[in-house]
């Protein structure tokens, strides 16, 4: 065990999943109640101790400078034939997690296009959410013993919500498995029913999937985040990529002075190349592998490594991984480990923008929205070829895919010493995001789906 003085500098504030990370299925984190212990002499500004007030949601025209007037026009034309038709979105949580974050932006934008969208959240007791959490893990491949009691709890709460909610809209969208059985009310509704599955179903626990499948098959369509997440089903399956909001705190344009100020406060030297990974301290993100790749690359090129993570305090494994990262980092003063609170979206934004390269060396991944964020900022990005990352990184065109520590190290060396190649890749990466992974594209997909369902199945008996 190395002494504390020998470890790389780290800043640790509070527990909780971190902004800029793949959202988890969970609740919003609480603010800290006391000043946390810091892992190094680097001081974090006091302003980071409390979450900032959320900015108001943007309007459609606010995106015009980003996507162009022609794309805004296309959204308006798409919505024109749907004017007055309504959509209901139903999920299991109003705050925290990527689905709620996405709905917070999607619902107002659809309504602004005169396609009124309503958002309802199902209710349930702890027993329900324990079962659905277990289902969530099982659908991701964790073995699970499906009991009769678990099935009854799942069905009972779905039935309660089915009786409580109204289904008067023309399209009902159910997000994820928790409210899946609400579809049993479809016979009494005139709506088209769509299941939006945000999780990877490529290798589900067979018992849980066979229990849920009959409900899925009652929908008019299912939506997945990647081709590889889909199942063989008798209903149409569509691909909706997850998306980022270019006007959010995490992704909006920043003044150079803001970036400089934040980097100064966090002790990041902008006069030298910066290689960054933004991720929870989780073995699946391979932060130790990133440190190893940095050390191999540093034999040939000068650079700093920033590991901006979170989740080390609320997750026992996260704390262990953070310790492993510190030990791997040793006493290298150019490795900066930041354990940031979950509301540090602006800081993550600034760190990503200040970076010369961004790495996401995951060994297992959902979609990998941190990759999307880096690409959007025009950063040359090196990432593991797992999960949804190959949908975002077209090897050597919009970024580079790697499969090993050594491959990652080589790409760091190459891109730091070939800035023109890196710049071109960054530009293509940003265009790829603009075309496929922005909130406005998501709005377009929902409008397209609504129109397609209306045309294919124009009249459903109520």
């Amino acid at each position: 065990m190395k002494s504390k003085e020998q470890r790389a500098p780290a800043i640790s504030l509070v527990p909780g999943p971190q902004n800029g990370l793949e959202p988890e299925n969970g609740v919003a984190p609480e603010p800290p109640t006391s000043l946390p212990v810091r892992g190094s002499a680097r001081q974090l500004p006091a302003s980071l101790l409390t979450p900032p007030a959320p900015p108001p949601p943007p309007h459609l025209q606010d995106y015009q400078n980003i996507i162009g007037q022609a794309q805004v026009d296309a959204l308006r034309f798409l919505a024109r034939d749907l004017k007055g038709k309504t959509i209901k979105m139903i999920n299991s949580t109003a705050v925290g997690g990527g689905v709620a974050e996405m709905l917070n932006r999607l619902v107002p934008l659809l309504s602004e296009l005169e396609v009124p969208a309503h958002w309802d959240v199902i209710t349930g007791g702890n027993d329900f959410f324990e079962v659905t959490k277990a289902f969530h893990n099982a659908l991701h491949g964790t073995p699970y013993e499906l009991t009769k009691a678990a099935q009854e709890i799942f069905l009972m709460y779905n039935e309660q919500n089915r009786k409580r909610l109204q289904f008067d809209e023309e399209m009902v969208v159910i997000h994820d498995p928790q409210p899946l059985a609400l579809v049993r009310t479809r016979q009494k509704s005139r709506a088209h029913w769509v299941w939006r599955c945000h999780i990877d179903l490529s290798n589900p626990d067979a018992h849980v999937w066979e229990f849920l499948r009959p409900f899925v098959e009652q929908y008019d369509a299912a939506i997945f985040s990647s081709q590889s997440f889909a199942r063989q089903l008798p209903i149409p399956q569509y691909l909706f990529y997850p998306c980022i909001d270019p006007l959010s705190e995490k992704n909006k344009e920043l003044e150079e002075s803001q970036i400089r100020k934040i980097c100064d406060e966090l002790g990041i030297d902008r006069s030298r190349p910066i290689v960054t990974q933004v991720s929870r301290f989780d073995r699946l993100k391979d932060p130790v592998g990133v440190v190893q790749a940095y050390k191999l690359a540093k034999k040939y090129v000068d650079c700093q490594l920033v590991l901006a993570g979170g989740g080390a305090k609320d997750d026992p494994e996260g704390a262990v991984v953070l310790q492993e990262v510190r030990e791997a980092a040793g006493n290298d003063p150019d490795i900066i480990i930041l354990d940031l609170p979950p509301w540090c979206a602006l800081e993550i934004n600034a760190i990503q923008r200040a970076s010369t390269l961004v790495v996401q060396k995951s060994v297992k991944e959902g979609f990998g929205l941190t990759v999307t964020e880096a690409l959007w900022k025009g950063k040359p990005t090196i990432a593991g070829a797992v999960g949804g990352i190959p949908n975002q990184i077209i090897h050597k065109l919009t970024g580079v895919l790697v499969h090993s520590v050594e491959g990652c190290a080589f790409q760091i060396r190459y891109l730091l010493t070939h800035p023109e190649s890196a710049r071109r890749m960054g530009l293509s990466g940003r265009e790829h995001v603009k075309e496929n992974f922005l909130m406005t594209t998501n709005v377009k997909r929902w409008l397209l789906l609504f129109r397609i369902l209306q045309q294919a199945l124009p009249s459903r008996p109520a």
Partner: protein
């Protein structure tokens, strides 16, 4: 740059309506994990799958200047590590086809020929499967309708690159002609056959779609000037 028409454009009888198309990606049931499976799937998949992975993918990747041609070639290079076959498939120019069946036949010929020469390559497992997809398409109007060559240039400069793709690349599947909507209108309505020909000869594989737009605009500007 080819010489544009020397004669003045005539007043078009019919306006040019700039449209655009939007696509929603549908995940198909077919996958391929080897080149042999890819060949089988190419023979049996729906036409809209071939369209998706050739014509449509060019629209999705319109910002790439070179190095991306179609999804089959990309998968064969990145997941099957067969650069020779990938290069041959990448060299297939979708604009040489006015119907999907012809394009499918050409793709099958290339893969089949390769596997006859390299039979052991047919059963190698790819790093990741190829997922056959297709698109549901919605054609939309834009606010731009050109009643003159100047109006045409104005519309061209303001519509999205999706509209350029719709009129310039996908059009031949609608027209069943080795041409595009822009060239057709310029020749038939504005009496500018050489201009139409110059536009048809723009190389889409060494340009981004934005670059294609700019080249078309330059050709039209030459006539106007």
């Amino acid at each position: 740059m080819p010489t544009p028409d020397k004669s003045m454009p005539r007043k078009p009888d019919k306006p040019f309506y700039f449209n655009t198309s939007e696509h929603l990606l549908r995940i198909g049931s077919q996958t391929a994990s080897t080149l042999s499976e890819l060949l089988q799937a190419l023979e049996s998949c729906a036409e809209d799958s071939i369209f998706q992975h050739t014509f449509r993918t060019l629209q999705e990747h319109h910002f790439i200047r070179q190095g991306f041609s179609n999804d089959f070639a990309h998968w064969i290079l990145s997941a099957c590590h067969e650069p020779v076959l990938a290069e041959k498939l990448a060299s297939v120019d979708v604009r040489e086809f006015t119907a999907i069946e012809g394009l499918r036949k050409r793709m099958i010929e290339i893969v089949d020929e390769f596997l006859k020469k390299h039979p052991r390559s047919g059963s190698h497992q790819a790093n990741e499967p190829f997922y056959f997809c297709a698109s549901d398409i919605v054609v939309l109007p834009t606010p731009f309708v050109a009643e003159s060559l100047a109006g045409f240039l104005d519309g061209l400069q303001h519509v999205s690159v999706h509209s350029i793709h719709h009129h310039f690349i996908e059009a031949r599947l609608r027209l069943h002609l080795m041409s595009n909507d822009f060239s057709q209108w310029l020749e038939e309505e504005a009496g500018l056959p050489r201009t139409a020909d110059s536009i048809e000869r723009i190389d889409i594989y060494t340009n981004t779609m934005e670059g294609v737009r700019q080249q078309i605009a330059r050709i039209v500007e030459q006539v106007l000037n």
